[in-house]
């Protein structure tokens, strides 16, 4: 299993920020279409979030996949809860579920 430091690092990120997006690239310059799509939606909804660029941290890149038990990037956490990746965020946005999630914060 992953080392304690890494686990704490991930835990802290998720607990200290309402909305965390583990992504490829940065919100200003995404390096992956799927990550960009999620950033787009968050921007359209004017949601404050922090983007964690896993391309800059190989350990974190593997660690978050294990932590979330989710094989791919991007990964969205809202209020300490794992929401999903690009497909799920897009579907929730289309159905209005995402807007509801943010307005009920």
């Amino acid at each position: 299993f992953m080392n304690q430091n890494l686990q704490n690092k991930i835990k802290n990120l998720i607990q200290e920020n309402d909305v965390v997006l583990f992504m490829k690239g940065t919100p200003e310059m995404p390096m992956c279409g799927f990550s960009a799509a999620v950033v787009n939606i968050l921007n359209i909804l004017e949601v404050k979030f922090i983007g964690i660029n896993i391309l800059e941290d190989e350990e974190l890149r593997q660690g978050i996949k294990e932590y979330s038990d989710w094989p791919t990037i991007p990964q969205l956490y809202v209020n300490k809860e794992f929401i999903g990746g690009c497909d799920i965020v897009q579907e929730m946005y289309k159905s209005g579920e995402l807007q509801e999630l943010f307005s009920s914060k």
């Binding site: 490829k24 690239g25 995404p30 390096m31 992956c32 279409g33 799927f34 990550s35 960009a36 799509a37 391309l55 038990d69 989710w70 094989p71 791919t72 794992f82 929401i83 999903g84 990746g85 690009c86 497909d87 799920i88 897009q90 579907e91 929730m92």
Partner: protein
């Protein structure tokens, strides 16, 4: 059809008994060598998804494809619907976002 594509198709067919299944190799849309099997889109319609949240459905698919996902596949777009949703949406498939370069590896 590549080996990975076949494997994905077989596993999902066998375990989820879908009424509709498309396994699409989208690797050529991305910054990877020709002939790669790294980026896939799966359209799967199964009533085993009834009553399950998006996250639960995706996790079901991820679990079945754990081997592929720890191998060459590092992007998996999933559209998981029940037969009712498939009919209601008129068999609509959401397009995958364009590549933005990735990690360039």
């Amino acid at each position: 059809m590549g080996l990975t594509e076949t494997s994905i198709h077989n596993k999902l067919s066998e375990r989820l008994k879908p009424i509709h299944l498309d396994v699409i190799n989208e690797s050529n849309m991305h910054n990877v060598p020709k002939g790669s099997e790294t980026h896939f889109k799966v359209i799967i319609v199964s009533d085993l998804f009834n009553g399950k949240s998006l996250l639960q459905r995706h996790r079901m698919v991820n679990e079945l494809l754990a081997e592929e996902l720890s191998g060459s596949v590092h992007a998996l777009s999933i559209q998981a619907k029940t037969s009712q949703q498939w009919e209601d949406s008129n068999h609509h498939i959401t397009k995958s976002p364009p590549c933005l370069g990735g990690s360039g590896k």
